[in-house]
């Protein structure tokens, strides 16, 4: 099989052609857009999001419950369920695709209550998470599992902002450009997976 030159691989011009731009975080004017998103819609995410997986969630929720200071102000923010490969020299970040969101279901309602407005991952969410999303106004995006190489190219800037000791599970602040996703669960609770099955 012949490989096309990767410079011709622009998701905006290929598979995600015509998708709507969604600007992050959902603060100020951006927040209005959140409520207009509908499950099943293709979007290109632009702006800031934070990575967090199991271990970081455990710590975040622990801090919230204990009334301790949280290293990231979650209000209006979007969390990407992902843990990257290390960056090779001269690159922004290593491969960075979504992990299974369901493992974060036990923590997500607490974070949504604390002001989290968006999540990015892969797979089905529990009804408890969806209820919290409807109640507080949040959106769940799904992106393509296993597409870590391509998704890493949508990251223009990355820095560890908390829990560095967790290695790939540390919290990274990412700036993304043309990051392809699908609205998985919208703020009214419509769910693309439950429609698909």
């Amino acid at each position: 099989m012949t490989f096309e030159s990767p410079s011709s691989i622009s998701v905006r011009e290929r598979a995600w052609r015509g998708a709507k731009d969604v600007f992050l975080p959902f603060t100020g004017e951006n927040e209005k857009v959140l409520y207009s998103l509908r499950a099943g819609e293709k979007v290109l995410l632009q702006g800031v999001m934070y990575t967090a997986r199991d271990a970081a969630h455990r710590r975040l929720v622990h801090s919230l419950d204990e009334g301790l200071e949280v290293p990231v102000d979650l209000r209006g923010q979007v969390i990407y369920y992902a843990g990257p490969c290390p960056a090779k020299p001269g690159t922004v970040i290593g491969s960075l695709g979504p992990t299974t969101s369901g493992r974060m279901d036990r923590y997500a309602p607490r974070l949504i209550e604390a002001g989290l407005k968006g999540m990015v991952g892969k797979g089905i969410r529990s009804l408890a998470v969806i209820e919290a999303m409807v109640k507080h106004g949040a959106v769940y995006f799904v992106t393509v599992g296993g597409a870590g190489a391509l998704l890493s190219k949508c990251v223009s800037k990355a820095e560890v902002v908390a829990y560095e000791d967790l290695g790939p599970e540390a919290i990274y602040r990412l700036e993304v450009v043309d990051f392809p996703a699908i609205v998985g669960v919208d703020s009214r609770g419509n769910d693309v997976y439950r429609e698909a099955l």
Partner: protein, 289 residues
């Protein structure tokens, strides 16, 4: 007796890890390409488009196909006429894995103990090693980095003889259905039937090493594989779990004799990032397959 040095084993394993993680096997790429061409649901087609673009980009720019670079499985077929020199075979394999993950900027995803501190070992060791002693004086090494998204949705069940082929069918369908989007479909479904519990699980994992397009040499099993492919694709889970015609690219079944009172079945799911790479070493000559 032929001698193979531990260093050659180590270097081969290192190379195979990096190759597997960056370059998707040709048969997997072709199967994904075919699936994309045949998919009629536009969103599913686009998802397959992203999956294929991702694989191309990974190979071109030497980026891991998926950030979950897995727990490393190493399958060794060791010719019985070989002596390993200057070191212990399993140490050499572990060193190869460690070098690949540290020097290759791969994600380290292994924790030292499953229950208590769950501390990252820092170099993705230890790998899981399966060795078979075979006739001859060659050693074949296959590396399969296995991600957890698909592994966590896998299962073993001890059916009883009365459950028969219908019971196996129901179990396989149940496992795939439950996996939904989590295992990153389109899948390769490995099924191990027979032996006892552990043997069935091993066969299911080994089945994932088979090339897409191959079938079990027993025509009855091969027919069952085909039948399961259609049934699974009929579930409509589709690429990324968002619906569509391709839920699996292949079903591979491996069987083994079993006890008169047993019918163990294991289903090991593999995601579309179905990474594997092999090499054969003969004396000090290596051939990457």
């Amino acid at each position: 007796m032929t001698n193979v040095s531990a260093k050659t084993i180590r270097d081969t394993v290192e190379e195979l890890c990096v190759k597997a993680i960056e370059i998707l096997p040709r048969d997997v790429l072709s199967a994904l390409q075919r699936a994309m061409e045949e998919e009629s649901n536009p969103l599913s087609k686009d998802i397959l488009g992203v999956i294929l673009d991702n694989a191309r980009l990974a190979a071109h720019e030497k980026i891991p196909i998926c950030q979950d670079t897995g727990m490393t499985y190493v399958f060794v077929e060791l010719g019985q006429d070989i002596a390993i020199e200057d070191g212990y075979l399993y140490d050499a394999i572990s060193q190869g894995v460690a070098r690949a993950y540290v020097r290759g900027f791969l994600r380290k995803s292994v924790v030292s103990d499953p229950l208590f501190d769950r501390k990252n070992t820092g170099d993705n060791t230890p790998p899981v090693i399966h060795t078979e002693i075979v006739p001859g004086d060659e050693v074949k090494i296959t590396v399969m980095p296995k991600g957890t998204g698909s592994e966590n949705m896998s299962a073993v069940r001890m059916l009883t003889p009365g459950d028969g082929i219908e019971g196996v069918r129901r179990f396989v369908m149940e496992v795939v259905e439950k996996s939904g989007p989590n295992a990153c479909p389109p899948l390769i479904v490995g099924v191990g039937i027979g032996g006892m519990m552990d043997k069935a699980a091993y066969l299911a994992k080994k089945a994932l090493l088979r090339e897409i397009g191959s079938s079990n040499p027993d025509p009855r099993v091969a027919a069952f594989e085909k039948e399961l492919v259609s049934a699974i694709n009929g579930l409509g889970i589709g690429p990324g779990g968002l619906g569509g015609a391709t839920t699996c690219l292949a079903v591979h079944i491996e069987t083994y004799p079993t006890h008169i009172g047993a019918l163990p079945v294991a289903v090991n799911l593999q995601c579309h990032a179905a990474r594997r790479a092999s090499a054969v070493i003969r004396s000090e000559k290596r051939v990457l397959l």
